[in-house]
Structures are given as structure tokens and as C-alpha cells.
């Protein structure tokens, strides 16, 4: 029955990705290989990030001062993710939402394949039952929304015809995107939430984040005349 449980988890992780890909109409554009391309860039970005972390960061984070500063600096490296997304966006021809969705979904899929498959195979297939695998699966779903939103924001940020006020908001949201895990981690630690509530907080936060991104995008798209 454990292989069955593994199947459950896999369905929980990957079906939303598949649905997102199908329902957004990307399949009609034949964007599959572009998604793969985005995935490749994701891999290169992660490699670069790891190299930076391994080269410039000490083994012991407390050498950098308090825990918070160490963690803060570590998450600063996540700006590389945004650079990676920018690269993806610039290498994908296309217009508006198609481009953004391809980048977001490709990126998120690459992450979910690289970081979850092995975990699930080793963990969820074992004799031991643990809720953590289901939580990880749901978290991946949240991350899909997050990555699409990030891709949208990067795209908006890279546009020259964005007015100043909006640009400030977009930049703030992008920075927030980098440090989101850190903030949530501390939030959860302070309130001593359990894993499920932690997930709920993440989900809610990401939902709000995604909706605000969508609103900004809607405004800009109207101005530019793309739908």
C-alpha cells in the first residue's frame, strides 16, 4: 500500500501543475520545450546559487553575527532566482501572459521535479507514514502560485513603460518575494504554529501576494492593450 501512498502524493504534487499548464492554454502555443528551457535555466541558477553559498558563506552561520543576520544574508542570495527568471523571460519570445506563464510554470516545474521527486520516492514509499510528505506536496502547490507571481513581477519590473509608483510597488513586492521564507519562518517561530497552520499561513500569504500581482498586471495590461 505504500506505493499507493506514493501515487497519492505524486498526484497531489503534479496534477495542479498539469492543470495549470493545460488550462492556461500554453499547450496550444506549443510551449512545452520553452518550459523545459526555463527548467534548464532554473538548474543553472541553482548551481550558481550553491556555488556562491559554498564559496562565500562560512559553515557556521553564527560567524556572521546573530542568527538573523546570517539567515538574512543567505536569503539575499535568492535574488539570483530573480535574475534567473529575468533570463528566462528574456530568452522566451512571446507576448504578455503567455510569456509570463511559460516562465513561471517552467521554473516551478523544474523546482518541483528536482526537489520533490526524490524526497517522495524515498519518504512516502517507505513503510513509515508521516504527514510531512502530504504537507510538502501542498506546499509545492503554493509554490506554483508564488513562482508565477514572481515571474509576472520580474516581467513588469523589466518593462520601461511602467510608471514610477507602480515600479516602486513592484520592486517592494520582489524584495518581499526574496525574504518571504525568512519572514514566515520567524512568524511561525514566534507564534509556535504547527505544521498545518504554517502551511495555511504560507498559502494565505501567497494568495494575497498573487492577487495583488494579478491586479497590477491587469492594470498594466490594459494600458498596453494586451489581454
Amino acid at each position: 500500500m505504500t506505493l499507493y501512498h506514493f501515487g497519492n502524493c505524486v498526484a497531489l504534487v503534479y496534477v495542479p501543475y498539469y492543470l495549470a499548464y493545460k488550462q492556461s492554454g500554453l499547450s496550444e502555443y506549443g510551449a512545452f520545450w520553452k518550459c523545459v528551457q526555463a527548467g534548464l535555466i532554473y538548474m543553472i541558477t541553482q548551481l550558481a546559487k550553491m556555488t556562491i553559498l559554498a564559496t562565500f558563506f562560512p559553515d557556521n552561520m553564527s560567524d556572521l553575527g546573530t542568527d538573523f543576520i546570517g539567515e538574512f544574508l543567505k536569503y539575499t542570495v535568492d535574488i539570483a532566482d530573480l535574475v534567473g527568471l529575468y533570463l528566462v523571460l528574456s530568452s522566451i519570445p512571446g507576448k504578455g501572459h503567455c510569456k509570463v506563464l511559460t516562465a513561471g510554470i517552467g521554473w516551478a516545474t523544474a523546482e518541483v521535479i528536482l526537489s520533490r521527486v526524490l524526497l517522495l520516492w524515498v519518504g512516502a514509499r517507505g513503510a513509515e507514514f508521516d504527514w510531512v510528505y502530504l504537507q510538502k506536496c501542498l506546499e509545492s502547490n503554493v509554490l506554483l502560485v508564488q513562482h508565477i507571481a514572481s515571474a509576472t513581477l520580474v516581467w513588469l519590473w523589466s518593462r520601461h513603460d511602467l510608471n514610477k509608483n507602480l515600479k516602486t510597488i513592484v520592486t517592494t513586492l520582489l524584495i518581499l518575494c526574496c525574504y518571504k521564507p525568512l519572514l514566515l519562518e520567524y512568524f511561525v517561530q514566534i507564534l509556535k504554529l504547527n505544521a498545518w497552520l504554517d502551511l495555511l499561513v504560507k498559502g494565505t500569504f501567497t494568495l494575497v501576494y498573487g492577487l495583488s500581482t494579478l491586479t497590477i498586471y491587469a492594470g498594466v495590461a490594459q494600458v498596453m492593450g494586451i489581454f
Binding site: 500500500m1 499507493y4 497519492n8 498539469y18 524515498v122 502530504l134
Partner: protein, 549 residues
């Protein structure tokens, strides 16, 4: 439809990936939730009769003593909850048994202690086919036992079918896995017996010999848990003390005694005194004369701190005037000096019909040597001689020191024939510190016979060092069982690693599928709803624009 495309993907890509990744994934191990060491029950054959638990591998679902029902269940229970009846039932029908020992073994006294001793003895008296393991007190195991017990309680008091269904879905199950290497027979199980002597001096005539014998092994229901502080740690310690004190006197020509004293530290005392048997055969059958042939008597030491009475066990009452009766008289005399100590003689004939001898002196009595055993235990059937309860904490050290003192005095009186006060006193006497340090050393490691057959055993080496330090002509002889029809046969894997996985029932997975399907349907509708959200957002922005204009 998208279903077709899924099908296409499956056909197109999947087999290829599976070929590459499946072997890699198969090799990856599964992380365990909880691991702890467990100790397997005794497993040995003696004179061809099998004893103990005959298998070692467990991979079964955990159940409590009240909920198990078939051989697919591994019963997990506390030792104090177990009765002989349930134990027999489990052995006959369950798949395996894990017994958690109480937190503190020294709390058992009187009736309760006797019950535990009886239960322990009955466990290994017969052979059982299921694997039986013991674990030290462990909070995780304790919690699991409690949880499983509450589950069974709620099963019984279930009010509605819906509740029962819900609890059967949400219940936690536990899978117990012990991957032992297999209980294979140990070949070349050599039992070491060491001996050495102090040479006496007499200006005229032949020098008689006294032999002092004790065995160094211990016994209990699980080999790795038999520390044997009293049986026979006390015997070893008193012998070492005798060696130390007498070697001091014998090293000076002026105080050398009139007897040769041979010290024999025999192995296999708990498996029908195999060490003594072999040693005696070697000595009596060898072509050169042996000291033991001129023995005045053979004194065996066994379990000397269990009570305040010292029993002298004989298989034939010694003749008046013989060295053994003189020794007994001396023992009485010295014993009278202590108000709390009683001395008693016990006469038990050797039962030749039985394979297992009662006391070690019977090995020597059979060969027509004058022999007796000193012990604080009255009956050879007393379970205290082989129990896991016999730990350092349960031993009365003061009693051990006092009995050591009595024995040293009695032997001193006999060897030097001093009429009144013993030969020892002042600075040259029993040293409690010395006794305590030996006790710590001996009782800190299990000494079950099968654990001591390995080469370079730490305990045997320290004992041998002590022999070499004080005695002359120290020799180690080995008892090797015959290839065909051996006297004793040990089996491997005395300990294992217990892994507990928490598992869910199969129904739970089905419900999970249902829940996930529902969730995915929701996600599907949420995604189809996004264009609507988008248009709402557009309206929002438009209104704002209008306002700002």
C-alpha cells in the same frame, strides 16, 4: 481531452524514465522513525536439548497483549504485565514478542520478585519457535504501548458504527522490524578455563593440595542482559581476594602454608559446568601427575551474597577427621563470631539419572574427590542463580565483604592451623575497595557463556592478568565441543536493532485518495475561475483610473 494526452505522455516517456531511475530508487533506503537496541532471548542447545527462542527476524505489526490475534502480530508488552499463561499463549500463536523491562530492576522484592524470577525461568526452560526480544525501559516504546492500549479500549466501548469506522481510519499502526543477521550456530565455541597455584612448603612428607573452584559466567533470560553480579560475580571476587591475600603470605618463606592451593576459574558453569568437567578430565587423565590427585578437598564457590546463611553443600557427608569436616568445623567457629551469620550443611546425593548437575562440586565428587560447594543459596533450584535481576544494584556489597572475610578467615585457619583468631587482620585483610572495583568491572558487562567464547575477551583477559600477577604456572585450557553430537551449541545474534515505523491502515490511503481527488477538482475549478478574477481585477484598475482622471 487532456486524459488522452496523459495517456500519450505515459506511452511516450514513462518506460524510458523508469528504466533509468527505477534501479537507483530501489536501492535508496527508507529512513526510520525510531531505533533502539534490543536483546534476544537465550538460544542454545545443551546435550542435544534445545532451549530458548529459535528465530531472530521480525517484520510484523505491533499489538498489545490484549489485542493480538494472529501470527501476523508482534506482541509488545511490559514485563510486569506478562503472566506465564499469556506468555505460553503468545509463544504458541503470535508472530513475535517484544518485552520491555521495568525502569529499575532493583525495585522488585519478595513476592513480586519471586514471580518475575519464576516467569523468567519458565521462559527459557522450553524452546519456542517465535523470536523473543527484551528491551530496556524506553519512553518511545512505553508511549507506543500506552497508545495501542487506549486504542483497544476505545474499540471495546465504541458506540456507533461511524465512530468505529473513523477510528479505524485515523488509527496509528506500528510496524516492528528487527533485521537480525540470522541465528546461525556458532562454530568453534571454545570455553576457557584458567588455573594456577600457590606452592606450599612442608619439611617432611608429601604436600597436600586444596583446590578452590569457581565459574566466571552468568546466566539470564537474555544473554546480553545477564550481568550476574551475585551469580557468580561474588564467587569470582572472593576467589580473587583469596588469591591476593594468600599469595602475599606464600611469597614469604616464613609464612608459607602447608598446603598447595590450586585456583581454578572455570567457564561454562551455567551450562552444566563444562569448564570444570573438561579441566578435571585433562588433569586426571594426563600422564604426568597432577596436584589435584592429592587434593585434601575441592572447595567450590557459588553465589555468596544472596543471604545471611552460608550453606555447605556436599554429596556425601565428610568423615569425622577428614579435611572437609575440619573445614566445616572451622567454618562454624568463624561463623559464630558474626551474630547475623548462620552456617548450615546441606546433603544432597548426586542424581546420576539427570543430565544436569546441581552444584559444581558434584563434577569433582563423581571423580571421587572430596568436594563441597559453599553458597548462600539453599537449593540448587533457586532461580537466583540465573536471572537478569541479578545486577550490581541488587547486590548487597556489605554482605559480600563480610562473607569474603569469613571465607578468608576459615581458609587461613585451616591452612595455618591457628587455634583462635585468624591469620589475617590489621593491614593484611579483605579490602572493601578492592572488592567494589572488581564488582564494578565484572558486573558492568554481560557474561553469558556465548558472549565469552570470542578470542581476547576483555573480562577474561583482566582475570588472567590477575592470575598471572599472583600465581605460578598459570595455564588456560579450552573446552572445544565435539563436531558430532556436541555437549553444548551456541547461536549467534544475541542482540538486534529494533526499528519502529508508524504506519496507517490501507483504508486510510483510500480515504486520502478521495480527499486528494476532491482537492484537485477544487483546484481545477479555481483555475478555470481565474479569467473571472482577472476581469474583476481589470474592473478594479479601470475604476481607479477613472477616479484618478
Amino acid at each position: 481531452m487532456w486524459l488522452d494526452e496523459v495517456d500519450e505522455i505515459l506511452k511516450g516517456y514513462l518506460p524510458y524514465y523508469i528504466l533509468v531511475f527505477l534501479p537507483i530508487f530501489m536501492l535508496s533506503s527508507v529512513s526510520a522513525s525510531h531505533e533502539l537496541p534490543v536483546y534476544r532471548m537465550q538460544h542454545y542447545d545443551l546435550h542435544g536439548v534445545p532451549f530458548g527462542s529459535r528465530s531472530a527476524v521480525v517484520n510484523l505489526e505491533a499489538r498489545t497483549i490484549s489485542t493480538w490475534s494472529s501470527s501476523r502480530h508482534c506482541v509488545v508488552t511490559r514485563l510486569t504485565d506478562l503472566t506465564l499463561e499469556t506468555f505460553r499463549n503468545i509463544c504458541a500463536k503470535a508472530g513475535a514478542l517484544i518485552i520491555e523491562l521495568p525502569k529499575n530492576l532493583s525495585n522488585f522484592s519478595g513476592e513480586e520478585g519471586q514471580q518475575l524470577l519464576t516467569l523468567e525461568h519458565k521462559m527459557y526452560e522450553q524452546d519456542t519457535s517465535i523470536p523473543i526480544y527484551f528491551s530496556q525501559y524506553d519512553s518511545t516504546i512505553d508511549d507506543i504501548i500506552k497508545e495501542l492500549a487506549t486504542q483497544s479500549d476505545s474499540h471495546n466501548t465504541k458506540s456507533s458504527a461511524a465512530e468505529a469506522l473513523f477510528s479505524s481510519i485515523s488509527a496509528n499502526g506500528y510496524q516492528i522490524v528487527i533485521s537480525a543477521v540470522g541465528s546461525t550456530a556458532v562454530t568453534e565455541a571454545k570455553i576457557a578455563t584458567m588455573h594456577g597455584h600457590l606452592a606450599g612448603y612442608k619439611p617432611d612428607g608429601k604436600i597436600p593440595t586444596i583446590a578452590i573452584v569457581t565459574h566466571y559466567d552468568s546466566f539470564g533470560v537474555a544473554p546480553e542482559l545477564s550481568f550476574g553480579a551475585d551469580a557468580n560475580g561474588s564467587g569470582i571476587i572472593i576467589m580473587l581476594e583469596l588469591i591476593r591475600l594468600f599469595s602475599g603470605l606464600y611469597s614469604d618463606p616464613k609464612t608459607r602454608g602447608k598446603y598447595n592451593i590450586v585456583f581454578i576459574l572455570a567457564g561454562g558453569g551455567k551450562i552444566n559446568f563444562q569448564g570444570s568437567k573438561k579441566w578435571l578430565e585433562d588433569q586426571l587423565d594426563s600422564s604426568e601427575g597432577s596436584l589435584i590427585q592429592e587434593a585434601a578437598f575441592v572447595l567450590c564457590l557459588d553465589t555468596l551474597a544472596a543471604s545471611d546463611t552460608i550453606y555447605m553443600h556436599v554429596s556425601k557427608p565428610p568423615k569425622e577427621g577428614s579435611p572437609a569436616s575440619v573445614f566445616y568445623r572451622n567454618l562454624k567457629l568463624v561463623g559464630e563470631k558474626y551474630s547475623s551469620v548462620a552456617v548450615e550443611g546441606v546433603h544432597k546425593k548426586i542424581n546420576l539419572a539427570e543430565d544436569i548437575l546441581a552444584w559444581e562440586h558434584e563434577r569433582y565428587s563423581i571423580r571421587r574427590l572430596s568436594a563441597f560447594t559453599l553458597s548462600t543459596i539453599k537449593s540448587h533450584k533457586d532461580f537466583w542463580r540465573s536471572t537478569i535481576l541479578d545486577t550490581k544494584d541488587n547486590l548487597n556489597v556489605d554482605r559480600l565483604v563480610r562473607n569474603a572475610k569469613i571465607l578468608v578467615d576459615v581458609l587461613g585457619k585451616f591452612v595455618y592451623e591457628v587455634p583462635d583468631n585468624g591469620a589475617f587482620g590489621g593491614g593484611w585483610d579483605v579490602n572493601p575497595e578492592y572488592i567494589k572495583s572488581w564488582l564494578n568491572h565484572l558486573a558492568s558487562q554481560p557474561r553469558s557463556p556465548q558472549l565469552l567464547v570470542a578470542k581476547d575477551n576483555l573480562i577474561l583477559n583482566t582475570l588472567l592478568d590477575d592470575f598471572n600477577k599472583y600465581l605460578t604456572e598459570v595455564k588456560v585450557t579450552y573446552n572445544v565441543p565435539e563436531k558430532r553430537d556436541p555437549d553444548y551449541q551456541f547461536y549467534g545474534s544475541t542482540r538486534g536493532s529494533l526499528t519502529i515505523y508508524s504506519v496507517k491502515p490501507a483504508v486510510f490511503d483510500l480515504f486520502l485518495t478521495l480527499a486528494i481527488t476532491l482537492y484537485l477538482v477544487t483546484v481545477y475549478f479555481a483555475i478555470t475561475y481565474i479569467p473571472n478574477v482577472y476581469s474583476v481585477c481589470c474592473m478594479l484598475m479601470k475604476n481607479q483610473k477613472m477616479k484618478s482622471k
